[in-house]
């Protein structure tokens, strides 16, 4: 059971959260995006061994979304940061290819 720091409610067990997949996937402009680009937006995700920027939502609590950097090897949650802000640097932040 991971314990994740909700930016509002504090440390809560993983079971209270919904995992929202990779962070920083912006919805592209549908008018100017070709089929391949739209497919990338819908389906293509990275799967790094190491630090991963991902989204979580505190479903059982405040229902707020936030971003987190998690090391997929150790499961350590290195930092959390608000939606809409760029990915921060993390110690040892270099994903080893997907």
């Amino acid at each position: 059971m991971l314990w994740i720091d909700c930016p509002w409610c504090g440390a809560r067990p993983e079971s209270e959260f919904r995992y929202g997949g990779e962070a920083h996937i912006a919805r592209p402009d549908p008018a100017t995006t070709d089929d391949a680009g739209w497919g990338d937006y819908l389906f293509m995700r990275s799967n790094p061994k190491g630090v991963h920027a991902e989204r979580w939502m505190h479903r059982e609590g405040c229902r707020r979304w936030f971003n987190a950097l998690r090391d997929t090897v150790s499961n350590d949650v290195l930092t959390i940061y608000p939606m809409g802000t760029p990915r921060p640097d993390a110690p040892g932040d270099e994903a080893e290819g997907g």
């Binding site: 991971l2 314990w3 067990p13 919805r27 089929d35 739209w38 479903r59 979304w65 499961n75 809409g84």
Partner: protein, 1001 residues
Amino acid sequence: MRFRLKEGGRIDRAQRLRFTFNGRSYEGYAGDTLASALIASGTHLTSRSFKYHRPRGILTAGAEEPSALVQLGEGARTEPNLRATQVELYDGLTAAGVNAWPSANCDLAAWTGRLAPLFPAGFYYKTFLWPASFWKSLYEPAIRRMAGLGRAPEAPDPDSYDKMNIHCDVLVVGGGPAGISAALAAGEAGARVMLVDDEATLGGALVGLRHRVDGVDGAAWAQAAAGRLAAMEEVRVLTRTTLFGYYDHNSLSAFERRTDHLGPGAPAGTSRQRLWNIKAGRVVLATGAHERPLVFADNDRPGILLASAAQRYLNQYAALPGERAVLFTNNDAAYEVAHDIVEAGGTVGAVVDCRPEPAAPLAPALKEAGVALHTGSAIAATHGTKRVRSVTVAKLDGDGGLSGEQYRIFCDSVLVSGGWNPAVHLFSQSAGKLTYEEARGIFLPGTATQALEVAGAANGSFGLAACLAEGAAIGARAAEAAGFGDGTPPPAPPVEAPEPGAITPYWLAPGLKPLGHGKAKHMVDHQDDVTAADIRLAAREGFRSVEHVKRYTTVGMGTDQGKTANVNGLAILADALGKTVPEVGFTTYRPPYTPVTFGALAGRDTGALMDPVRRTAMHVWHEAAGTVFEPVGQWHRPWWYPKRRDDKHAAVARECRAVREAAGILDASTLGKIDIKGPDATTLLDMVYTNAFSTLKVGRVRYGLMCGDDGMVFDDGTTARLGENHYLMTTTTGNAAHVLEWLEEWLQTEWPELKVYCTSVTEQWATVALAGPRARDVLAALAPEMALDAHSFPFMSVKEGVVAGVNARVFRISFTGELSFEINVPWSHGRRLWDALMEAGAEHGITPYGTEAMHVLRAERGFIIVGQETDGTTTPHDLGMDWIVSKKKADFLGKRAWNREDSRREDRKQLVGILTDDPKKVLPEGTQLVDKRGQPPIPMIGHVTSSYASPTLGRSIALALVKGGRARKGETIYAAPETGFLPCKITEPVFYDSEGAKRDG
């Protein structure tokens, strides 16, 4: 109790307990385990082994026991595969050894042992290959009868179980000297401390030794320490509790046996066992060490046990292992065991030490007491059948072989010591890395990946003084990390105990014949009957990875996870491969450390509490009406209402007729309802629905489809505009939470600039759908002030007013095709509304209808159900619902995806109606559809999504998704071969009132 000493031990001699084992009556004392009481009575044979049915006895005195597994109790409370070494004795206890029939003493299957050459390593993989059908019918049942362990109870479990969630600053695992000092140090600093130990009392190894701490007997010191811990407000000590799982982020699970030791005397109402979920700031692992056996020929006969176990039986339980013991060791510590036995008045025939020139400090004293010392020697054979009767001791030559010099020594017990393995199981579970220490041949905790430290023997510190000092230092450090104290440990108490002394790792003693020849077995894994020869065979057959050898030979795969077997097995494998132990590597320990009952894992989540049943305000009424409920998500919705014992078909037909001809009411409270407010509410709806809401007038209602950005339908429902910036959205029952999360996700992550608030009001409002040509009459009786005519209250509009004396919102929407009102009142008045409708409707023939009738009625009218007509790959166009897809809106979720080539394929599956040529045949939902009759394989062109006997039409109807189906109306296709290729016609997916003439009544 022949082998019970007249005095001593930590048992309560005032309390004699009677028990039955393998059908024989025994006596023991309070404080005994089943194993200690048996040993005190001279019984070592407990059970038969897993594969060869070899007679097996008690090997250890604790959790690591691989061999003495018993079936405890009878009937519904029987429990298989318990370790006799951990079963606390109570009066009236009944147990039997596992895997023996009719008994361990006279096991009819023992002939399998003589067939041993037929059961080499991996015999499952080699023998039962062909034919495959024989596996289920013949091989597996036979193997299960012959092998396997105990029997699972067949009756429902009469006991109760529960769970507890707890947080602490410092969790100490293990109540031996290191764990106690850690808990004392952390507790005295003021931290919240938990100390967990799997034995009945604290003390760990101390209770089996004659060491002294702080001037008193070690066990007495532990007892006093337990008293001090109990007096600390923030310290919780759990005994009889096994910490069995170490998970991420210092989450751990422990298994407490609350009443097992009381037997039938357990208090009613107390859960039998409890699972603890622990979240710890810091963890101190003080899990001790397990003595490892030596591997020699026929080292598994009853009467052969670990030296430390014999020492514990002697000192804790005042039971001698037998008349005359022989000790076999590779280290100094075992000499202390011989010394304790001699001191207690027992007889040690010989100490056999494989080291050429040992310098054990106690050796001279033993010699003086008349104990023969055979150095540079090994036990090359053991003799006896159900009990060891003698051993052959042989001198070793310089290369580890036998020199030829042999002695036969008579004995009835052999005490073996191969050194100590730190109990690194939990450290390994925590994802910590192990390191190997060549000198002592042990795996030690290396780099930790979680907030933990390892203290005492688990860390390789085998001396008592070191355990106490290390525990105190780590406990104080852990408390300091949590903000308590300055990290200075309390002074360690003085001890009187021998130092652990020297050891020379020794992995495999030669037998009289080369390994694998002759009948002798060098047992490595006592539980799974894996021998040294099996491991060598695996290496010869090309297995190199320790993980593969483990699975192929099954070494370490028993319920004991190889606690006594793994390191020996690994060293033997390394030798066979010509590698070092670290090169071969180590398998990963996984939870649980020892087996956990399913009862404890389930806790109180069983029966009615297994999963929440969500109930509406009218649930009690439905129950009283004898409703058959249908689970929809966690909700229980009325499925149909049987009347006068009619079956489902008759009940549904009656309910459908009532709606088409008179009036029916449906409990629709489970539909999701979301209140949407804000200046950008309309913008949000225009983005999430395929159609436009900006054109919707206040007071009006619109049906909408919701799609993902992949263009696939995922929900539908009606949305009412209650004000300029105020909407009420409804969702399907199963998707209510998902849709709210969907809106929130877009609002919070993609469109944070939109000023909109979404609030679930699903359970604020109880909803009753009142449908049928007489619906208006019924409602008029309850809402005299509300204008209900089709002009004042048109289709797809909403009104607020008083219904049945309660403030209500009424929607004129219809899922049946009939004139229909969906009446919403506060949940707390739902039952009142329902009762009032039943009363007011009585004269109009009002009939409650369930979800089955609702499904039939909507299918007649051709309305889809999301999740039934759709499956996540269905677009609005596939459903023939282009009319609801806006052409004007520049962007909304789903729109872009429909321009993809795949979305425009003409052979996509499209929604059509299906009418079987035979009107009486109702196709099963999910039926595959094909183009022509013939021999399979035949290409599938679609499948039936909904299918009913329609009472209105007097024939069967179905909806289906068929490739290119819309262009094929009127064509004949066939249902799948299982139906006998029933011919069907493709039709419009609307079977009733396609003009919508009925909706105004």
